[in-house]
Symmetry: C3
Subunit: 136 residues, 3 copies
């Protein structure tokens, strides 16, 4: 199973909460115990897990990333999206979440974010579930 | 198997070496070949693997993180822990280590650290082992 | 299976494109569907996935990392490689790529990079494949 999830981003920089989307994908399958792996096949987007209660948390993340790696900086890469490549490597394009009793095992305040740094674009996200094969 | 490990942190910012704790968990199970996955269900804590011989390495990591994302900064999030959320995303809250011949396959100088950025608190850490199911 | 790949780096800081190396390892095994996990057992090296078409992208990544965590800084660790330890934690020493139909499922522009921050050295990289054990 290699599920491809399609996303459309609408701004240059955007943090999209994909928690309910991923939850639905996981619950639609009958894996009771395992791990859900997520992978972004792009080089100017990333994934991060952080608080989804107060949207200011994500604003702070974005502002800090922008302070550290400004959109307009002194870069070699001429396409205007060098910052986006660096941000993608800093946050990373893959993550995983445990599945317990058929449900995504996120912490109380955790949400999964698709981080667009060079939008708007059509994006993909790969999802793969590995079922636990023993009772260790 | 979804093992929940409880931790109590004692300071606002603290890097706790959990290597022997994780090693004990892994060796207590009879998985010979596989992967040990670790996951932090919090949004102001993280995991990192780095040197555990000279404690100055972790001091430098902490000081650099603090230089890049200061505790007292100009943040939107009003709870005083915005820096902790950003640091959590930069280091990431999950990692994995291979298991070979029943043992955790860390490099010579590697230790696993639970990174507290908003303590002191009671924290959890999830551990899950996937056994290798073939001999590829 | 725990494959150890040996690498020799030739400079202090070096981003080595290991995509074709990893692809060859994966294709040499007959796993059709699964995940390829990569792990660096060192504390001054890392892995990242980013564009391998324009080498300026990696130059920008390196220059930004250097701006944020300079080689010559005010560090506690006296071995002269404190920056390398910090960079290793920021990028992270492990990653995974999906395998579909026996092939590494990278995005069009993605390459896998071994990031040396304290070379030149002999380095290792661990590779492990987990086969998908169901059709979820």
């Amino acid at each position: 199973m290699n599920k491809v999830i399609n996303l459309e981003t609408t701004r240059q920089i955007e943090f999209i909460d994909i928690t309910s989307l991923i939850r639905k994908e996981v619950e639609a399958r009958n894996c009771r115990e395992g791990i859900c792996f997520l992978y972004v096949p792009h080089t100017t987007a990333a994934l991060t897990i952080n608080e989804n209660a107060d949207p200011d948390v994500i604003r702070d993340l974005n502002h800090t990333m922008e302070k550290l790696v400004p959109v307009k900086g002194n870069y070699f890469h001429r396409e205007g999206n060098a910052h986006a490549h660096v941000k993608a490597s800093l946050l990373g394009g893959s993550t995983f979440i445990f599945i317990r009793d058929g449900k995504l095992l996120l912490g109380t305040w955790q949400g999964i974010y698709f981080c667009e740094f060079d939008g708007p674009r059509r994006r993909s996200l790969y999802l793969r579930i590995m079922q636990e094969n023993s009772t260790y």
